[in-house]
Symmetry: C2
Subunit: 141 residues, 2 copies
């Protein structure tokens, strides 16, 4: 009935809570973000289950993994092809749903089977621009 049925994974309470949290979430949360949020609703939730569920959803193509932060995965429940605008200071990520016409150059070495293209725009977001001392760490991106 519900949209959730469409994906062929066993529906457990834990998975439903996680999927509910992710659905329409535009914050590109980390595994810890997800764990912290869902354990409020489901206090016995374990970190392993968060990771297991993320892995499963991703295998089913329901999730994109983002490697934006140094050493910390972030997850994007928006699986429509889109690009990202990343604030190098606060690490917030904004979705960009424009389509860019990008073609690889010709050449032997580029003879890949392309399966995806991601454009990352890096910059300082309006909020961080306003704050003082905002250039202390700007070089770090």
């Amino acid at each position: 009935m519900g949209r959730k049925k469409e994906i062929s994974i066993k529906l457990t309470p834990q998975r439903l809570v996680i999927m509910e949290y992710l659905e329409g979430n535009m914050n590109h949360p980390s595994a810890a973000d997800i764990y912290n949020a869902v354990s409020k609703k489901y206090p016995t939730m374990s970190f392993a289950t968060v990771y297991n569920t993320l892995e499963t959803l991703w295998e089913k193509g329901r999730l994109r993994e983002l490697t934006i932060d140094r050493g910390k995965m972030r997850f994007d429940s928006n699986t429509k092809p889109h690009h990202h605008l990343i604030c190098v200071q606060c690490k917030n990520i904004t979705d960009i749903h424009r389509k860019f016409a990008l073609k690889l150059p010709e050449g032997e070495q580029y003879n890949f089977d392309i399966i995806g293209i991601h454009v990352d725009f890096y910059g300082i977001c309006p909020k961080c621009k306003k704050e003082k001392n905002n250039n202390v760490e700007v070089k770090k991106w």
Copy 2:
């Protein structure tokens, strides 16, 4: 005299060995790759020194950090603006020096100060295409 002098960091034997290894290196090595390679020439090299040097070079704008692999940094000594073509299977990274004309959509939420744009093409490289069982892990990217 040499090009190395231009950057304003103390020149130590350790740093020179690391810089020499990185110069013109197109392999986008990880910290471990670098450590393994340079400790052959300089056996007392410590991992901490590799990380310290990478940090310093990056602060001086002499290095780009790539977050391609899950949980492992890779480093790019080519600081000219360029893009990447990534094999989702063997994780090799090919540089693309074409320039793409990319503009952010109009809109309040996109009012960033843009400081960089990176395009990542994902695909299967020619070498991996030839190999058998090459779709075992293809979904994992």
